[in-house]
């Protein structure tokens, strides 16, 4: 694995981040930096803080940052609302995409896409132009246009929900995408569809963070860096072979690492 040029400014920098929910500390000093074109994987047991980290970057209101900072394209995003972060190019692919009855998926995608386009000073799309765009993107995740007329994620299978997340990523063209266990609950075919979608969407300008438990997603999308998280910290960073090591030895050694601390 060749490491990519470091001369670019990082898209995302998380510096010594401490965060808690209802006074319960979850993150205990996380540092990570993602450059354009890089793919990072974060692995670790359930409850180690992976999902929390992703939600905090997206601006979830339940968490308090007690120390440290998050910079996106060089600016501290602490005071930005979740929608401002999204408009400026931060994308979170949800582990459990939320169902919203009554709100049509098509309308949702259009409003979201236009919010991002407005930020980019691009013309907002009317219903017809948007339909053309969305049909093109549907192919990336092999979704049927029937999905568009349904309520957001309502009655979608696990795999359909995850593909809907990738469709959103394709439409929003984020600068950084944090994909939280996008592989969980997918059979092997669905996993391939999702993985190939992600690869097609990303380019040299995009940074990607894949949060996962399993090697199988990383077989499809080769990460530049693998971070292992335990107890709210990144305890080890390596290249893609670290994931293989983890696969081989399991998470027990991370537990031992915590004990030693």
């Amino acid at each position: 694995m060749q490491s990519k040029t470091k001369e670019l400014d990082p898209i995302l920098e998380v510096n010594n981040l401490f965060a808690s929910i209802e006074n319960l500390p979850i993150l205990k000093g996380v540092t990570i930096s993602v450059n354009p074109g890089e793919i990072h994987a974060i692995m670790g047991r359930n409850g180690c803080g992976k999902s929390t980290l992703s939600k905090i970057i997206a601006g979830h209101p339940s968490y308090n940052i007690t120390k440290g900072e998050i910079k996106f394209t060089g600016n501290d995003i602490h005071s930005l609302e979740p929608e401002e972060r999204a408009q400026s190019g931060i994308f979170l692919g949800f582990q459990y995409p939320i169902e919203i009855p009554g709100v049509s998926n098509l309308e949702f995608l259009r409003v979201a896409t236009n919010a991002r386009r407005k930020f980019l000073n691009k013309e907002e799309l009317d219903t017809f132009d948007f339909e053309d765009l969305v049909k093109e993107k549907l192919d990336l995740v092999k979704m049927d246009s029937a999905f568009l007329s349904r309520s957001i994620n309502q009655g979608f299978s696990g795999g359909e929900k995850k593909r809907n997340e990738i469709l959103q990523m394709a439409l929003l063209e984020p600068k950084i995408a944090i994909l939280d266990e996008t592989d969980s609950g997918l059979d092997i075919d669905a996993l391939r569809i999702v993985a190939s979608g992600i690869k097609k969407i990303s380019n040299e300008q995009t940074g990607i963070i894949l949060i996962t438990h399993y090697q199988r997603l990383l077989d499809e999308i080769q990460p530049d860096y693998v971070h292992v998280m335990a107890d709210g910290q990144i305890i080890k960073t390596g290249e893609s072979d670290l994931a293989l090591e983890l696969e081989k030895y399991g998470y027990e050694w991370t537990d031992n690492f915590i004990k030693e601390q």
């Binding site: 209101p61 339940s62 609302e81 999204a86 408009q87 919203i100 709100v103 309308e107 979201a112």
Partner: protein, 480 residues
């Protein structure tokens, strides 16, 4: 968690219809007795039978008690402290719109209901009611060509007395309930619609009710008759200025559908709701009922209730004719200290009658929003069916929602199906939409209108868009 202020403010948009029109009015003095009623009847030059109808209602009302079974709390109404007749002064006989006081036309203009020939809405005929009287009715000539009568009820009393005598009080009898009895005694104006046999009304008909005076009550009365195989879609809108006192509005609406006739009655109610502390606002006590007299007749109510300090309203259907159909689609939104107790009654009398109830209640702030509905299957209603769905949505943690379904069946061969749900706009749903770049308030209003979709789909087109906007406005700031 969604920060507390976040959930507090999405529901409070300043009320934009709160202005008062400065116009000379003719008012009678406060108070209610038989002389008041004689005076109203005299001013309107009514025939004897109508005066008798009023006096009879008044005597019954005096013996009745104000109902207290609804889940509503409010200061006792002093019925002697109300003006029962208030009308803008104008020429005795108005032969054309040019003679209407420009201030009145301007008022309706400001409300988005232009009445003048040049500006009037192109596809809707409007009857504009200001305090106690009807100001103008548009498109009368065009409608008359189809035999459709659309005028104020006062005019109908003069020009179509036989119909009034036959049908007034035939659906809501004078002694039906306390507020209906009061209305029957003192009603001042309202709209009258008659659709002759076989006629599909060529355009939507609409009444716009405007309360202007602070100390007078509004007691309008609407009567719609659809003869065999006719159909009509009727819309009703209401607004009032902001006063810090409460104004009483007690209306009666009666609908009659004969064989194969259909009436669709839609309301967007946006009376002034009072301020955030619950001061002022309209007390809205309304009796609306339709009688499906004919075979295969159909009456459909749709309502979007967003205003009033107190709403007490149960648009109902009496399904007499065999295979007749009743529908009730309702969205009721309450905020701040508003209270709404609203629902419907579906009384199945004829065989193979069908009714559908879809009620969506949204409560925000410290408001209370109750659905109260009765489905009754009479002994002859064999093969009849009802489907009810009552959903409540809570915004914030101070609002309350109740559902009171009453079911009575004397007919084993009938079906009643009731579904109810309560949900809260969850923080996760909001975060999901926001994390896609959708502004907080837009996210809330998307979810609210998604929640109301089944009902909005039943509204006439322009009305649906209007209702969507209205809800968004009312919700602005309540979840903020």
């Amino acid at each position: 968690m969604v920060s507390e202020n976040l959930v507090k403010d999405v529901v409070s948009e300043p009320y934009k219809y709160g202005f008062v029109t400065d116009i000379e009015t003719e008012k009678i003095s406060k108070g209610l007795n038989e002389d008041t009623i004689r005076l109203i009847s005299e001013k309107k030059e009514e025939p004897q039978y109508l005066l008798n109808f009023r006096l009879n209602a008044f005597r019954k009302w005096q013996k009745m008690e104000e109902p207290n079974w609804a889940d509503l709390g409010y200061k006792k109404i002093d019925y002697q402290d109300i003006i029962y007749y208030s009308a803008p002064k104008q020429k005795e006989k108005i032969s054309s719109l040019d003679e209407v006081d420009p201030k009145l036309l301007e008022t309706f203009d400001k409300l988005g209901i232009p009445l003048t020939e040049q500006k009037k809405l192109t596809n809707v005929a409007v009857d504009a009611v200001f305090d106690s009287v009807s100001i103008a009715t548009t498109f009368r000539k065009e409608l008359a060509e189809h035999g459709v009568i659309f005028c104020s009820i006062s005019e109908a009393v003069k020009d179509h007395s036989n119909l009034i005598e036959k049908y007034l009080g035939s659906v809501v009898p004078a002694n039906d309930n306390y507020f209906a009895a009061l209305n029957s005694a003192v009603f001042s104006d309202g709209s009258f619609v008659y659709i002759p046999k076989g006629v599909k009304c060529p355009m939507d008909l609409s009444s716009y009710f405007r309360i202007n005076s602070g100390d007078s009550g509004q007691f309008e009365r609407t009567l719609i008759i659809a003869e065999e195989s006719s159909s009509v879609s009727y819309l009703e809108g209401c607004t009032a200025p902001m006063f810090d006192t409460n104004t009483l509005h007690a209306a009666v609406v009666e609908l009659i559908a004969l064989d194969d006739a259909s009436i669709k009655y839609s309301t967007v109610q946006n009376w002034y709701a009072g301020n955030e502390e619950g001061v002022g606002g309209i007390f809205n006590f309304v009796t609306k009922r339709g009688k499906c007299l004919g075979k295969r007749s159909k009456i459909s109510w749709s309502q979007v209730e967003t205003g009033s300090a107190i709403t007490w309203k149960y648009p109902s259907c009496i399904l007499l004719g065999e295979e007749s159909v009743g529908e009730f689609y309702s969205v009721a939104l309450t905020n701040n200290l508003q209270q709404a107790d609203t629902g419907t009654k579906m009384i199945h009398i004829g065989p193979r009658t069908k009714s559908t109830i879809v009620s969506k209640g949204i409560s925000a702030g410290n408001s209370i929003n109750s659905y109260r509905g009765l489905v009754k299957m009479g002994s002859k209603a064999s093969g009849s069916r009802n489907y009810s769905q009552c959903d409540s949505m809570l915004i914030g943690d101070q609002a309350a929602a109740n559902t009171f379904p009453y079911i009575q069946s004397q007919q084993p061969n009938s079906e009643i199906e009731h579904e109810a749900s309560t949900c809260r706009i969850s923080e996760d749903q909001l975060f999901y939409l926001q994390s896609r770049g959708i502004e907080f308030e837009e996210a809330v209003s998307m979810m609210v209108s998604g929640f109301c979709r089944d009902v909005f789909n039943q509204l006439p087109m322009e009305f649906a868009a209007e209702a969507d906007k209205l809800l968004a406005l009312k919700l602005e700031g309540s979840v903020g």
